[in-house]
């Protein structure tokens, strides 16, 4: 297979002097880019063309391509390059790329990884995924159609993900007779929009992926009026993002502590920014302790110096406390730590964001619990308008504040992808539900110290001669939670213990009177109760709470607020039929008739505990027996 048009023919060098070729190839740099366009912009064809021209297609693949082209191709008797790229079986039939696919090709100067990202309306999440690792974006526009709504959306996302190099590829020039005026009009149109989005500069190239114009050499005979670079020339010459990363101060998130024996304690990680040398003073963030780099240990021997993008293992001069999640940084310019942030969030899951619920947040090598507030606004990616929003649905983007359960080390995303980009993980499905970019910290957490008190929580507990705990009763309405909790409190009082019973109905009369029964309000209800229960344990009390608390995630959130072994989940396991039969407050009747909405067990789910510390029921036990059993399970009380 030969291609005389290709400007990056290396056949002769490979055949004549393979060692010279290898030496050249070995010193190539790597550029990652994404292509984005709407369904018919010819994106797959363009990538297929790049692979074809760079000889990344073998004869057997080409044979399959030719036969496929005739069978399902859309280009008549000509080769349909798009078929090279469209991967999964279902998509091939639909003729739409629906996921992110990565392709590889190489030229004399560079090796390329292309993320082929979909242009279909509902797949924003895939484009964001592809853009997150790209240095450059190729935005395709069909010369016949010009700048479309999708073009604007793609440009916005490219800018949002911090891609500095943008190529506006005006494709299918062959279908507009290579008309310069058409090209110029599209470029003008796009310039106005790029400015609005915040894209500072872009390179516009007229091309045809199908015919091959201005792909490998420019100007094509068909566009004598064009004086810019061919697409490949441009891709080969733009600056790499890694160069900019090296110019910043040193930072490295610690992934793993390497302790093969007592004499070696190394901190392994991928350098996020800057340069590190042996002897450099460093600071462990967030703790703030300082030390010096003793050695940079690698399999290939000790290094004098290492730079951003390298995976290394550092040893330090001092025995400082440092583990996974910490960041080792230049002593004089460490990243900040905080626990409250404002960020842009891209929601990627079918289940909408639940403000107030705790999610895992992963940033660098740190994993913490984050609670997201209702979005300040959602961004209409087509018009860039700010819309009012209570939550974020799949593929929507918004700006929201969040708090983490402990301080995390970060940098604004605009400064560092490595320490500014995060993902959110659902604590129960374990799905990656969102990606986010930190804009700024709401306050400098290091300036808000916890006010130390002289009489500590241990003192409070010692004076009461008991171990503070939260007995968290959960179960359906009418299951007997309040009755049993009340009985437990009575029995504990007889044992001279200091207790407090927080009851669902009672709390809603005061502390939580502003909250309703939507899912969001229920989450906030539980969060506040959790905080109150926590304060009461600080005061040394044994707290009993009786709330339906139907969602595992919220009970888990409260569990995480408290120290280990303080949270005791008591599942009052009364079946729905029996609770409904009792219907002490007449609520089931109202719910069945539709008078009462969002009623647990009827039209709102109850998620039973999977590993409750204690399980009781009111079918086989009387409330007194259940209470005795519960107390027997928490002995000794001290």
């Amino acid at each position: 297979m030969t291609n005389p048009d290709s400007s990056f023919q290396v056949d002769s060098l490979i055949a004549e002097d393979i060692d010279a070729y290898l030496d050249q190839h070995q010193h190539k740099s790597l550029l990652r880019f994404i292509t984005c366009g709407s369904v018919d912009d010819g994106k797959s064809t363009l990538i297929g063309r790049l692979l074809y021209d760079s000889k990344m297609i073998f004869e057997d693949q080409l044979a399959a391509l030719e036969s496929d082209s005739k069978k399902v191709g859309t280009q008549g008797e000509e080769i349909d390059f798009a078929l090279l790229v469209d991967g999964l079986a279902a998509e091939r039939e639909q003729g739409i790329t629906i996921d992110v696919a990565y392709r590889f090709f190489t030229t004399e100067k560079r090796k390329f990884i292309v993320a082929d990202t979909p242009g279909h309306e509902q797949y924003t999440r895939n484009m964001v995924t592809g853009a997150s690792t790209a240095d450059l974006a190729v935005i395709l526009v069909d010369a016949r159609k010009g700048v479309l709504v999708q073009t604007r959306r793609h440009s916005y996302l490219v800018h949002l993900l911090g891609i500095k190099h943008v190529v506006l590829a005006v494709n299918k020039m062959d279908l507009v007779d290579y008309d310069q005026a058409t090209f110029d009009a599209i470029v003008d149109d796009y310039s106005a929009f790029a400015e609005e989005v915040g894209i500072e500069s872009f390179t516009a190239i007229p091309l045809s992926g199908f015919k091959g114009d201005n792909i490998t050499a420019s100007p094509s005979a068909n566009t004598p009026w064009y004086s810019g670079p061919a697409l490949i020339d441009h891709l080969e010459s733009v600056d790499l993002a890694s160069a900019a990363a090296q110019e910043r101060s040193f930072s490295m998130p610690v992934q793993w502590v390497n302790r093969p024996n007592l004499d070696f304690r190394g901190f392994a990680g991928l350098i996020a920014s800057g340069t590190v040398k042996t002897g450099d003073p460093v600071r462990i963030v967030p703790a703030g302790k300082t030390s010096k780099v003793k050695s940079i240990a690698t399999f290939d021997g000790e290094l004098e110096e290492a730079v951003a993008g390298q995976s290394v293992t550092l040893t330090l001069e001092d025995e400082v406390d440092c583990s996974r999640g910490d960041v080792i940084a230049a002593a004089g310019d460490p990243p900040e730590a905080s626990d409250q942030f404002c960020s842009t969030i891209v929601w990627m899951d079918e289940t909408a964001m639940k403000p107030g619920r705790g999610y895992w947040l992963k940033i660098g090598s740190q994993m913490v619990t984050a609670t997201i507030q209702s979005p300040k606004y959602e961004i209409d990616v087509n018009s860039l308008d700010h819309l009012a929003a209570k939550t974020l649905e799949l593929n929507s983007i918004g700006v929201a504040e969040f708090a983490t359960d402990r301080s995390i080390t970060f940098e604004p995303y605009a400064k560092s992808r490595e320490l500014g980009g995060f993902i959110l993980i659902d604590k129960f499905t374990n799905a990656t539900v969102a990606a986010g970019m930190i804009e700024f910290s709401l306050r400098r957490a290091q300036n808000v110290h916890w006010q130390p008190t002289t009489i500590t929580r241990d003192d409070h507990a010692a004076m009461k001669n008991q171990k503070p705990r939260v007995l968290w009763f959960t179960g359906l309405s009418g299951s007997g939670k309040s009755t049993i909790a009340n009985e437990v409190e009575k029995q504990l009082a007889l044992m001279n213990r200091h207790t407090f019973l927080l009851d669902g109905d009672n709390v809603r009369h005061g502390l939580n009177k502003d909250l309703g029964f939507t899912e969001t309000d229920r989450i906030e209800n539980i969060r506040r109760i959790g905080e109150v229960a926590k304060l009461m344990t600080d005061a040394g009390l044994i707290v009993l709470t009786a709330f339906i608390s139907p969602f595992r995630a919220e009970r888990h959130m409260v569990r995480e607020m408290l120290s280990e072994s303080e949270f005791i989940e008591v599942f009052v396991d009364t079946p729905l039929e029996i609770a409904e039969q009792r219907d002490v407050k007449g609520l089931y009747k109202k719910a069945r008739s539709g008078e009462l909405k969002n009623f647990t067990g009827i039209d709102s789910p109850y998620e039973a505990p999977e590993n409750a510390e204690i399980t009781v029921n009111t079918v086989d036990m009387t409330p007194v027996e259940a209470a005795e059993y519960i107390i027997s399970q928490i002995l000794p009380l001290k």
Binding site: Q26, L30, Y102, S242, R259, S311, M348
Partner: protein, 300 residues
């Protein structure tokens, strides 16, 4: 300022992936096929944890029809680097009458490769398994995530993959579920060979050309590796100078005629070659989407 080469960047990325898994998974394992990709993976794993040895065992799924030279290389490597080796094999295959001559390729790979692999993963309770899959190998693999989530029955659902952003990998999973991890996702065949040459990684000699007894059958040049090889009427092994681009079960893996006896010649042949890497494997033949079907079943 120092510009990293593409191999340095790929190496750093792979090492980062190895370390993330070891930090977050409870019981990882590396699938070690002893092939060139596995050899590169092992080398990267040794770099990732240096001066500690890789903190996980190697799992080799042996079909019973492996090249002898491959088994020798495996045992030598394991011994030299002090690694823990687990061999998974369907020992009942012979009784069940399963062999590469009589059994269809789909059933054969299911019985000899996929099933023993799944069984071993379940038996040892491995919750993360490193595999040598590369995105450039095949269309279905181009869309595979680096961390690929599997259900408790080891199935892959291509429609339900977790988005993977930046270098933030989500290793969270429920009990009995597992994750396949592909640290060399972004490497191409050329990168693999070049890295082997640069780092002087020891590989199975089958990749280098040498005179071997062969027969040509259905367009594949097969090496008669031991006397279990069933010759058909009129077939007579002929000595040919051959090597392999990929190593599977010897009665199913085609060799290519070649004079390449060193690494640069191999790379030269590869770059000038006209057939893709998997062409030598009988298992992948069939409809274009067949690899995807196998992946859904749990094949690597």
């Amino acid at each position: 300022m120092r510009n990293l080469t593409h191999l340095e960047r790929l190496e750093a990325e792979s090492i980062h992936i190895f370390r993330e898994v070891v930090a977050e998974a409870e019981n990882p394992v590396m699938l070690y096929s002893v092939g060139k990709d596995s050899s590169v993976m092992l080398h990267l794993a040794r770099k990732a944890f240096y001066p500690s040895p890789p903190p996980f065992p190697m799992l080799h799924v042996a079909s019973g029809w492996d090249f002898q030279a491959l088994l020798d290389h495996r045992d030598k490597t394991v011994k030299e680097y002090g690694l823990e080796l687990i061999v998974a094999q369907n020992k009942d295959a012979e009784e069940q009458g399963i062999n590469p001559f009589d059994t269809g390729s789909a059933l054969y790979s299911q019985a000899q490769l996929t099933d023993p692999l799944k069984r071993a993963l379940t038996e040892h309770g491995f919750d993360a398994a490193f595999g040598g899959g590369r995105r450039d190998e095949e269309k279905a693999r181009a869309k595979e995530r680096v961390f690929s989530f599997r259900t408790a029955s080891h199935r892959w659902d291509p429609k339900n993959q977790r988005p993977e952003l930046w270098n933030l990998y989500n290793a969270k999973k429920n009990k009995d579920e597992s994750i396949r991890v592909f640290p060399i996702s972004n490497w191409t065949e050329l990168d693999i060979w070049q890295y082997i040459a640069l780092e002087k990684i020891d590989i199975v000699p089958l990749y280098l050309s040498q005179k071997r007894p062969t027969v040509i059958r259905d367009g594949l040049t097969l090496v008669v590796d031991d006397d279990r090889f069933r010759l058909e009427d009129g077939e007579e092994p002929v000595e040919r100078s051959v090597r392999f681009r990929t190593l599977g079960c010897y009665p199913l893996t085609g060799a290519t005629e070649s004079d390449a006896t060193d690494m640069s010649k191999i790379i030269q042949e590869m770059l000038l070659a006209t057939g893709s890497e998997r062409q030598g494997r009988a298992i992948d033949k069939g409809q274009s989407a067949s690899m995807e079907d196998k992946k859904a079943e749990g094949y690597f």
